[in-house]
């Protein structure tokens, strides 16, 4: 494991090289926050509570949802697909490393970059500009763990989509479709409580809600019992393990295409 840490460090440094990238990231996110603020403010004009959520809760949810969205956006699917198509993957296959773990650490570096460059500034703006009140509770302390698991789940889905590059020359459409499915079904765009009950029930059985809904609930509703949160974390853990393992199986299958059919 130790030998993979420099890989995360390297991607973090690459983020630093492209300074303007995160400057635009922060500005873009602030614009989105402003729009979301006034949008939800007007939705809440006639009632204090909609679907059991107050304005404060909904806004934290939506704003942090966008912050997590940017945080998790490490473009793993695009990068992996590119490396497969261009044959750069050969460079990894001739090194004593496991490609999945390598990719995980490379994306973890990008995650840390996003965290320090976009997510933390966004959180500060929310605290001091929009004067949002965070409520303290056990959820707040479990949030970092939940976020890390969310990253694992999100990475495995991206990795899976990227690996389709072994079979298909283009994953553009697939990546976009994945993006939309994840954003909508995970509750990143609209809190899951706003969906009709039937759809909600289905969505709770899918892995996507574990990426956004779970960590966001820990911040918006941190005062529920500890057992509720631990159950949520357990579900995340199961999804993270299952998807990581499935992606691994898929890789072992897909790499045969390269190794048998040629690069």
């Amino acid at each position: 494991m130790r030998s993979y840490f420099p890989v995360a460090r390297a991607t973090y440094m690459i983020g630093l090289v492209y300074r303007f990238g995160f400057l635009f990231g922060i500005v873009g996110n602030l614009v989105y926050l402003g729009v979301a603020y006034y949008l939800w403010k007007s939705i809440y004009r006639y009632s204090d509570v909609i679907r059991g959520l107050t304005f404060n809760e909904t806004f934290i949810y939506v704003a942090l949802g966008s912050a997590i969205f940017i945080l998790l956006k490490t473009y793993a699917d695009w990068i992996i697909h590119y490396e497969i198509r261009e044959g750069a993957i050969a460079m990894y296959l001739t090194k004593p490393i496991d490609y999945q773990i390598y990719a995980l650490f490379a994306n973890f570096g990008a995650l840390l970059m996003n965290l320090s460059a976009i997510t933390v500034p966004t959180a500060l703006v929310m605290l001091f500009v929009f004067k949002v009140n965070f409520v303290f509770g056990p959820g707040l302390f479990l949030f970092p763990i939940s976020l890390l698991l969310a990253f694992l789940i999100s990475f495995s889905i991206d990795y899976f989509v990227g690996l389709i590059g072994f079979y298909s020359e283009s994953v553009w459409g697939l990546s976009i479709t994945k993006e939309i499915i994840v954003t909508v079904f995970s509750g990143a765009l609209i809190p899951l409580q706003f969906f009709p009950d039937g759809i909600q029930r289905v969505l709770y059985w899918l892995p996507f809600q574990a990426i956004y809904h779970t960590p966001l609930m820990m911040l918006t509703r941190p005062n529920q019992g500890l057992d509720v949160f631990l159950a949520m974390i357990l579900v995340q853990l199961l999804w993270a393990g299952l998807l990581f393992w499935l992606a691994r199986l898929f890789y072992n299958q897909a790499i045969k295409v390269l190794r048998i059919a040629g690069g």
């Binding site: 130790r2 390297a10 390269l258 048998i260």
Partner: protein, 340 residues
């Protein structure tokens, strides 16, 4: 025991025959018309520790496919392949530790970071200890003056500088065998010479085995004692370079551009040359590209200068170039039985 043992190695690829046009593309979606290509068709050889072997052949001969099987990227269709006693594809991670690889067309360095960072990452990946790392870096620095490049972003390096860094990187973990796939491609003469020196020094320093594929026969002449020529997936020649050397060392290709060129010009040239130097003149003539005629001359039999002045006096020559013999030509000569 030999370091690399290959016996009856084959590799077949299944290639989809693409149909023409939009309709064809749609039909390809559902039904594939595959054909099998035999990239490597049963080769056998052994390589001893410390050897520098030139592995040469024309484009599509199967060189890269063999290298990819030796490095564990591709799985052979049949046959035995062992590096240090183990099959590379079954023990990829373990085998990668004792191998170094440079693919000339591609870099293993981190494109966006300063050069030194790539070395540091590789140091961790290969678990090289600090002492050995420092010693290696000092040695490379002495050889090629690498230190000046440390703070430079890889993307801003020239092709030659990048190649020197890539070669350095492939030797970093003191591998038993290094595969160099076209390490001098696209480089100018002086950089080529530098790279040859470096490869030679590195080979001597730790008795590292080196397998070199190249299009440049100069590389082979400068570095290798042994040469393996491969074409269409089969080995044409495996042995001492001296015999081959005599072959392509003596040949030169005279490229001529002749004014008012017609098909009969070629015939006329051939006739006149035969008239002048007899049937055993060791000269072959072929039209290679438009307006250019290649005259290949065996200098052991007919001096180049004679042919040149003869042609200049008898034909309206516009332009002349003199080339060393090409890989394709060597292979053709081997086929014709030049090595007996």
């Amino acid at each position: 025991m030999s370091l690399i043992h290959i016996d009856g190695l084959t590799k077949h690829f299944k290639i989809l025959n693409r149909r023409e046009g939009l309709r064809g593309a749609f039909r390809d979606l559902f039904s594939g018309d595959y054909r099998t290509v035999e990239a490597v068709a049963g080769i056998s050889f052994d390589i001893e520790p410390g050897e520098i072997v030139g592995y040469i052949g024309p484009n599509g001969a199967g060189k890269s496919t063999t290298i990819k099987m030796m490095t564990g990227i591709l799985k052979p269709t049949s046959g035995v392949i062992q590096v240090n006693g183990l099959a590379p594809y079954d023990n990829r991670i373990r085998q990668a530790q004792i191998m170094g690889v440079v693919f000339g067309q591609r870099t293993q360095l981190w494109w966006d970071l300063p050069v030194i960072e790539s070395f540091k990452i590789l140091k961790e990946i290969y678990k090289v200890d600090q002492k050995m790392f420092d010693r290696h870096m000092d040695m490379f620095n002495e050889l090629v003056g690498l230190k000046a490049l440390y703070p430079q972003q890889v993307r801003t390096l020239s092709l030659g500088q990048r190649m020197l860094c890539d070669i350095t990187a492939s030797f970093l973990h003191n591998p038993q065998v290094v595969f160099l796939d076209e390490p001098t491609i696209g480089l100018d003469i002086s950089v080529k010479a530098k790279i040859r020196t470096v490869i030679k020094e590195l080979n001597q320093e730790h008795n590292t085995t080196i397998i070199l594929t190249t299009h440049d026969l100069g590389d082979v002449e400068a570095l290798c004692h042994r040469i393996i020529i491969i074409d269409k997936g089969r080995i044409l020649y495996d042995g001492d370079i001296k015999r081959v050397n005599a072959l392509f060392g003596a040949y030169r290709t005279l490229k001529l551009q002749i004014d008012k060129f017609t098909d009969s010009t070629l015939h006329e040239l051939n006739l006149k040359l035969t008239d002048c130097y007899g049937a055993k003149h060791g000269i072959t003539i072929a039209e290679t590209e438009e307006f250019w005629t290649d005259v290949t001359i065996d200098q052991a039999r007919t001096p180049l200068s004679d042919v040149l002045s003869f042609v200049m006096n008898n034909f309206p020559v516009i332009d002349v170039r003199i080339l060393e013999i090409s890989m394709e030509n060597v292979v053709q000569r081997v086929y014709e039985g030049a090595l007996g």
